[in-house]
Symmetry: D2
Subunit: 413 residues, 4 copies
């Protein structure tokens, strides 16, 4: 980070926005905290770089980017005559900065393998409370806004809603680093159109096309990036690697791993343990991508043939074959591939489940039942974007799309 | 990687160029090889992300980008009537693809600590020869061009010269990911202006302004990125961490590390060992950023107080203070800080050298004594860009700038 | 135009694509021809700059841009194994270069006022034939492709179809110059996905998201730019200015105008006249934006109060008020405003129609009844993009949207 | 212009900055004024589009862009603790908005042909005074700042100095529209580095590389765009066309022209006339590119063979040949070409001077004798950028480069 003492403003380079300004000392100190610095070592998109080789950006950069957009959003709302105090502005910036602070490495994989029942939201809450204690209560308002306990609802909506600053930054950032230009959105224009009506975040009616573009872009990013089938295959391979390692650990096998990973691999830990043993949070805070991948790399040479095979394949990018369908795969299909795999590789019934498996994904670009995007018209009236005439059939967007996938070794084709 | 079987062309997304096309099966297979896949886990700019938080791009992506530019360069030269056979085109593409294949993680730090006297060029040569054997001699022409043993000199110059495709890609890529827009170059325009005269790579005279911009951009990237003082501090901290670890290993201390790192930490290995023991190359090929950083993270808890302190500071980005000067720092200055550090932290004379040290850097944007950039005029005459009248004083650029830096703990100020 | 004699390739700067290369001498000579050079003085988007102040780009630049994309499209198709001869490549480039050559200034306004029944297509045909005669028949194949009389249908589709190079360039160019980023498309990606099946232009199936983005972008450009209500008001004011001028000319009034404009203002000319009097085509070819706007500016001082008023208002951007509705405006609404205008300004019933008027616009982003975009799957099968499951409800896009607008002086509100 | 009544903020699209916000009603009304609206019809770079076909941007857009940057600059300076009152902010925004309001069409050509001795600065002063009267004195402070009569000097420097907002916008805008990427500057970064010391505008020392890049970019734009030899040839042809027309007008010949152009073509007008006859300013304010080019187009058919020839050549882009040299062209060279032209075309000695002529241009990227760019160091000291060690030899930049050019008909080669 380039700090400029002359002008008392800290500035960070960002390839997307040019510069990100760190508005004050408290926020600067939060960024310096080890809880936040660790996000430099946690990639935003996990193993997506196996498909999009530019996608190495981190949760650290995303959090800063979202805070940058938040500053702009607050400026726009203030310029439209809405009262937001300096304390509220600082608090909402802190809240968005820390919104993902509880993410572990390869978050989705981790949560489905070795730290079951411990969501990153829970860890975020715990970390924010710990930081608040360290910062003498300076984060109280931020936490209230984050947990939607503060009177001005629109402040929470800036952090979590259909058009929050989290989404605006990650769509732009993920699109930028993957090079998937179909997902590009114009966050500048959307933010310029933000407004407040009845204490709710709304969009000035003239921004309707930007909203449409945003919803379309988001849906395209789901299919092209977040649910890209090769990415799915890689992520589920990692889930299975960690599950297998945990199984071996439970059986008392020795596994190369850092001390922090060891805790979570060998001990049974759930949410209540975190509450009882405060040191667990600090151990969790030492985990990052380097703990996971250095272990995976070393396990290529493990005696367990299944673990070694999966680790080899993931590291050298020889991924499981993945098929996608709109209907569930049948028992017969699954059994057939499992039998083949057993014969080919000599694995047991239990082992082969790590190589041949099926699951389901869903995508839903705009769900008006859960939360709407409202337009504010010049006459002061408000309408859901889905009802705005002459534009686009929101039904098409709102429809939840469900898909099934099926993974198995290429050799079983 | 998205492979399209329909059209037999493999395409990769690149945020800078849009797409990179993989021209044929041999090159595709080389990219799939574990030697090359490991470059996905070796960052191009090492610890630079501690200053520029977008700079996580890898040597994998850079090598592909340089190959992309090479294809364009060959197309341009062919369109200007120069004969380049399909075999030569494939060979020069392979050569640029593999030009950095021998780089280890944090290459500069590694070469100055645990693998002394083994340059990445040497390892690249060894890996290319190994790959050539695996690929049944298909890389022979590529290796000849790479090592400048092929008759058409300009092919080698496309890989290594003032205006080679390596430089064109890395300047653009590093500028893009750091967000240092001052370093942006227009590789498209430069490539469009490439030409050949007397078997040498030259630039059409009308491209003189692009050449000037390129030299200026390169120099700015040196000061703003490659030799940024905070990056230097971080890199030398990593050098000292690895040196200290090696010292401890030599003394028989136990250090957490992957098996690959263990070989290089505990054994004395030099160039001749690589020639004698072929398996060493494969062990080296298992090393990447994850081996190094997972160890550094774990060593934060090592009994050696010096190692632990350096590892803690690097991981949490509490870096040594660094001063820059145009004159060497004096013995008195160094001694003073070392004494302070000894008192403050209780280290010995030997130990304190890891915390208080000085060294020298040089930068030289254009060195006409070593290698010139030649312009080709419409009348067929050729002139060094430095002699082209009315443009810019190349002397200013050609002057080597030497600077001295001095690192010490912030507490010693 | 920067010509480079050294390398026999002519290169033009383009802010969008970087460079446009002029592939050969014939095309260079066509660009130099006065018929084509006049397009430098005909803006692509007419009066749109009154809303989007960057939108001054010309038909000249668009035609060159479309030719640039055509070269890339042909390269892609050839690389996928489709045979396209050098003669066909040149012809299709010429055809796209000249596809709009017959456009007059403010084409839509002109065709609805002083040159009724003479479409720009007709003029393009006439100009191409004239050029073909001047160029000794070198354009015959280009004309055959342009008029869809050539066996390989896909060549015509590259010039005129849902995904032709005309559209790809103008969407990108109009989006770029207006700054309406919602309309941005990735022509590079779309072109990379082009293919041929059964002699028809198709898109590789993996390009489905790019196609979706393209259709959405196109529709957004219609609402935000091409049918922007303020632009409509300005264009219809220009139509009425020219109609009024023609009316006055018919009555023998003296009107300032260039000699070329005089011919079309004072004489009754239709399509058959163009066939009978070859010199008319050359007079038409002298018309450009400067003839029209210099006259409009001068007519601000004309004795006819109605003409002067309209010209004043257009020049100083005090445009008529425009309302948009999904239902037609009623006779009562129209009569009421007309009466007001008569009283306020003292105009007659006939005159007031130039100030108070209504009309209808329609928009339709994708019309599968007329022409489909077909996807080519890996198994060789083909399907309309509208039928591709799991993506988007093409029905929403295909629905024709009809709107009514109503213009009247601001003073009549 | 898209006006949003809902949020009381007017927003304009800009392809470079995304949006330009019009900060208040007074500035909105100034933009609506016919004096300012006419700038929509005056291109920023005159005939440069004959070389760079994207360069049609207008003085209107540039003035708005410079005002946009001014708002950002004021925000930055205020955030660094400098006091700038709302009245001063409005005034400095008005001053930069109107800094070029007195420019006529093809300003340089006009000033060297038909309106001798009347600089655009003089007209700007007159127009600002006239506007101030119309706006009840609201522009007084803006005019004082513009004319450097206000106490806070740095406000004037934001409008006119080495790093003023005029330059920052035009370099970026001209680079963007011509596509000459070598001229691209990072105005964002430069503005972020602005500061004030001793009432002078300075740059924070860490911005030294951005300043260097800026000076280099500016110099490259001079050679590649502003003094491009083909542009020079076209501009001098236009000068000679207008001179010839004026000569013919003086001799009583009839020339097609708008009434506004007629005044300046047929009457002898100088600065004192503007002071005596207030209506002259309004007639001047009616002149724009359309008056000039519509006349040039019509004069192609004038009886005067010399005028017709020049107009034909300019319109159809068959420009005079131009040679550049570092030494003056000799009398013999000039005489030789003039004799040839006389023989070839049958012109007199006087006439041939319009076709064969020589002149001189100079370029000077940074002139520290006239005005310096000062850097502000962390310790509060200030130094001229030229003295900053280790960067670049400012002498090379500061050297004035003088070149001579020589124009003659291509047929005289």
């Amino acid at each position: 980070m380039e700090k400029s003492h002359t002008n008392k403003r800290k500035i960070l380079n960002d390839p997307i926005y040019g510069f990100i300004t760190i508005p004050n000392e408290t926020i600067f100190d939060l960024i310096e905290h080890p809880y936040f610095q660790r996000l430099r070592r946690i990639s935003q998109l996990g193993l997506t770089y196996l498909v999009y080789p530019g996608a190495y950006h981190t949760r650290f950069h995303h959090a800063l980017g979202a805070m940058h957009l938040m500053q702009k959003a607050i400026d726009v709302l203030q310029s439209k005559g809405h009262t937001i105090s300096p304390e509220e502005k600082e608090a909402v910036c802190i809240a968005i900065l820390l919104h993902d602070v509880g993410h572990g490495p390869y978050s989705h994989a981790l949560e489905h393998s070795i730290v079951n029942n411990l969501s990153h939201e829970t860890v975020s809450y715990l970390m924010m409370d710990r930081l608040n204690a360290e910062f003498d209560g300076k984060l109280t308002l931020a936490i209230d806004i984050f947990r939607n306990r503060y009177a001005k609802k629109f402040l929470h909506q800036l952090i979590s809603s259909q058009l929050d600053m989290d989404r605006l930054d990650y769509l732009q950032r993920d699109s930028f680093y993957t090079g998937v230009s179909e997902g590009k959105i114009n966050s500048d224009r959307l933010i310029t159109m933000l407004n407040i009506a009845d204490d709710e975040l709304v969009i000035d009616a003239k921004g309707i096309y930007s909203v449409e573009k945003f919803i379309v872009a988001r849906r395209l990013m789901y299919w092209q990036v977040y649910l890209h089938k090769t990415v799915l295959a890689a992520e589920f391979m990692l889930v299975n690697i960690l599950k297998r390692a945990k199984e071996l650990a439970n059986n008392g096998e020795v596994l190369f791993c850092t001390s922090a990973l060891k805790t979570f691999l060998y001990d049974k830990i759930d949410k209540t343990d975190f509450e009882k043993k405060p040191e667990l949070l600090d151990i969790f805070a030492r985990l990052d991508d380097y703990d996971i991948l250095s272990a995976v790399k070393e396990w290529k040479h493990h005696d367990d043939r299944l673990l070694a095979m999966l680790c080899n394949q993931l590291t050298e990018r020889r991924l499981l074959k993945i098929q996608i369908a709109t209907e569930p795969f049948t028992e017969e299909q699954i059994t057939e591939k499992r039998e083949k795999a057993k014969q080919l590789f000599g694995f047991t019934d239990e082992e082969v489940k790590y190589l041949v498996f099926t699951d389901r994904i869903t995508n839903n670009a705009y769900n008006p039942k859960k939360e709407t995007i409202n337009l504010l018209y010049k006459d002061g009236s408000i309408a859901d974007v889905a009802e705005a005439a002459d534009t686009f059939n929101i039904d098409a967007m709102a429809r939840t799309v469900k898909k099934y996938f099926f993974c198995f070794p290429k050799e079983c084709r």
